[in-house]
Symmetry: C2
Subunit: 500 residues, 2 copies
């Protein structure tokens, strides 16, 4: 088993390089002085290159070849076998992509990113059009290099959601769309007497931070292994199971931004921290996919922290911590206010009910662009039409429409669907947890939401990347992905909130 | 010139790895959650190992061999030639040390460090004795592996102060000792009516920080390329010429700790920032030695910020920023108070006059231990005797005596002398600067101390590691190192302060 030891050593080195790259990136967003950027980019490129060489090198190839027999003899739940499988998958995917293509794509992304910034500033899609074409061409070229089954889009999906299939996503999204569009119509038609101005009551950043962290701590995010910093764009990252970093931003006249931002990232952080420590320094010590990751963040943010039971438990604490906001507010008033459904233009500000329409719109258009059935130049019109069809509003300009997201300019094709998959996974996992834990609302109302996290740890977190998202959902819930859980959840919640 | 290009690429990668290692280490001291330590140690070890492999590998060896002819054709001030020379030196030194020895030494240091912590806690030198023996044995073994001229101690010195010679240090220290011991006696015999209690007037950390940074900014440490954080043990590090990090600690009942700490680290930071940007990402983009580095930090801390002229300029600012400390104080009172000479036990708290005796004591004892003429078990007694001889006091226990410094437990043999070399270099450079700039006190009093930094930048900083400390001092001052500059400085300053 000398080869297994060598493989572990090699994977450990790649893992260490990953941790170091994570820190270089985190520091860039949090504390790096502005002029440090140029050298930082070089440092990240060098570490990425060394990591790539280790992953695609002859040594890795030889070890994986030697270990084929060993791998086949292992039980299905063997950590060693999973580690070899993931290493083989990464090795094969990355060796199929020539260095020339990687460099060409990197340069094109860099150009596209700058073009997108300018196009968005000037709200002029034409300035980004050629770059978007290039991004789509590169995505297709990459798919051909890597290979795929059935549809080339499956190759790009696989980068973010292992083994996801475009056909399945279409089916599940269609089911979601058909079942929640009538609900959205009904909600928008219902009257709404809620006082949303309470969301704009001023609250100092420090107080927002303290209360957000209090809840995060209750859920299990201890300062022993984590910290919270401030950045323009909130994110979660980690450099090991016991070194979790989350960030947020503070709007002193809209307190939900920081609170729900912190709780969202807390969900991501608890997932990464919940991985079995035996997987540390292997390629399995990470969340298994973007979709499953998003399920954990959206679950904490929405299913726990936007529930009535949550405010029943924390309403008094919030009033005490922030009397200038909540001294005169009931749990019910807080609950209603943070669950407002709105026809809004911007995805990242969307509520739980409209959010998925923002995603479906992007997925459908992206797929048509990828397949070539929609011309790039016709995208803004198609975007605006779908906004009208789904949400009943039309963006006044491209900056608030088709140019709002960074993803396409960064070459992130196949990424958007994972956001909605996250919502779907979250609800399906929640219902499975409820079978073991009983009344979930009662738990939350009693301040025992950490028990829900405990269930997720046992059934999701601990496995890291040992299982693909498909396998994990089957294992944890006893069934494949199904939109019905989420449809029922949205119906129950919003019919209640809006008294329909 | 394909080989030169390849060498630069390789050195660039090693430089990037160095920057990443610097950040891993900085983050460990500043922001890392406690439980992140274990994974962090792995990450640092992996990057160090990769860097070591690049430095000692066949590729590096081959390129250096190929470039010998090119190197010899270059002018003495050629950056390329300097880069090749430094790479050759590092390559040769490191290839002479077998991996087994590196690992053995690393494990021994780890044991020694833990033993030292325990020994210091219990103030029991016996608990550290065997580990110190091992550190000395390893230092000698390392010297034999690397090779040396004249004396094996020259090999360990060379790690911190390129090309320094034990014989020269002995000579210069003897001169320093003989000329300043009478001064110290005279100062201690002189009366002293200064009110030192003003140093203990309470001042909030935030105010200390603001004032310390104001001065640092005036000297040129801009937030565009630097930042200040808080750590238990203050330090300076940097990840590129434009990414300088300094740290300090705050004692709210002794404001000089943070102020003079920040100014000391500012000197280090300005040195690293002052390196010629053309040297970035090469092995020359660093201060040339610990001694020259210390000259820049001690110059800012002591020669600028502990001068009468400094307080003449900044006294009013300090009174305004910290009226609770300085509203009723004259520049003269501040100047006198921050220049107290004391018979003290602890090196890091020592004043300018006694500081060098702490260093000489360590150098002399370390050399005897290294040579084997002093037995380890006899060290505490020898330490206490020298403390009595030089400073007229005897430590009440080993924790406040021989066990106070971390250096020996970390295998840093040959390091201590660089502190005093820094003081000597500082004064010699200062006098050379004065020949160009005229009245240095007048500059400082007019708030133009940045011009002194400008001179240092022109004559010291910009060269990075292009010249050895010996070459640099000769080039910048027109003479080899000479203790007389410092002796005159100390005499002038302390005879004035103490009215002798």
């Amino acid at each position: 088993m000398e080869q297994l030891k060598e493989l572990k050593h090699l994977i450990g080195q790649i893992s260490d390089l990953g941790g170091a790259m994570g820190l270089l990136s985190w520091d860039q967003e949090t504390y790096m002085p502005p002029k440090g950027a140029e050298a930082r980019a070089q440092q990240m490129a060098t570490l990425a290159r060394i990591s790539h060489e280790l992953m695609t090198g002859e040594k890795m190839g030889g070890l994986l070849e030697d270990l084929k027999g060993f791998e086949e003899q292992q039980a299905a739940d063997s950590m060693d076998a999973a580690m070899i499988r993931v290493a083989r998958r990464d090795h094969e995917k990355r060796t199929r992509i020539p260095v020339d293509f990687v460099e060409k794509a990197s340069l094109a992304r860099n150009r596209a990113h700058h073009a997108w910034i300018k196009a968005r500033q000037e709200s002029n899609f034409a300035l980004f059009q050629d770059n978007l074409q290039e991004m789509m061409d590169l995505a297709r070229e990459g798919a051909e290099l890597v290979g795929y089954e059935d549809h080339p889009y499956n190759a790009v999906l696989d980068d973010y959601e292992e083994d996801a299939k475009v056909s399945e996503i279409k089916t599940v999204f269609a089911s979601l769309r058909d079942q929640t569009l009538p609900l959205l119509r009904a909600v928008l038609d219902a009257g709404d007497a809620t006082d949303y101005s309470i969301l704009n009551r001023p609250l100092a950043a420090e107080k927002q931070k303290d209360f957000a962290l209090k809840v995060a701590r209750d859920l299990g995010l201890s300062p022993e292994f984590s910290r919270l910093d401030t950045t323009t764009h909130p994110f979660q990252t980690n450099f090991s199971i016991d070194d979790i970093r989350i960030t947020t931003r503070y709007d002193e006249t809209y307190w939900p931004t920081a609170l729900y931002g912190v709780w969202h990232e807390t969900g991501h952080g608890l997932y990464e921290h919940g991985v079995n420590p035996e997987l540390e320094r292997t390629n399995l010590a990470r969340g298994t996919s973007l979709g499953i990751h998003e399920s954990q963040s959206r679950m904490v943010e929405n299913m726990i922290c936007r529930s009535r039971a949550f405010w029943q438990h924390y309403g008094a604490d919030f009033s005490a911590a922030a009397p200038e906001v909540a001294a005169d507010l009931s749990a019910e008033e807080l609950y209603r206010a943070v669950n407002r459904v709105q026809q809004s233009l911007i995805r990242v500000e969307a509520d739980e009910l409209t959010y998925n329409f923002h995603i479906m719109l992007r997925f459908e258009l992206e797929l048509e662009l990828f397949e070539g059935t929609l011309a790039i130049k016709d995208l803004p019109e198609a975007w605006n039409q779908k906004m009208q069809d789904y949400l009943g509003i039309t963006p006044p300009n491209d900056a608030l429409g088709v140019l709002q997201d960074i993803h396409w300019s960064s070459g992130l094709i196949g990424y958007f669907p994972t956001y909605s998959l996250g919502n779907l996974y979250a609800c399906q996992l929640w219902n499975a947890a409820a079978q073991d834990l009983g009344d979930m609302d009662a738990l939350i109302a009693q301040g025992e939401a950490h028990k829900i996290i405990g269930w997720m740890r046992e059934n999701v977190h601990q496995y890291g990347k040992m299982y693909s998202p498909r396998e994990l959902i089957q294992k944890a819930t006893g069934a494949p992905l199904n939109a019905d859980h989420y449809v029922k959840y949205l119906n129950a919640k919003y019919r209640d909130v809006y008294g329909i």
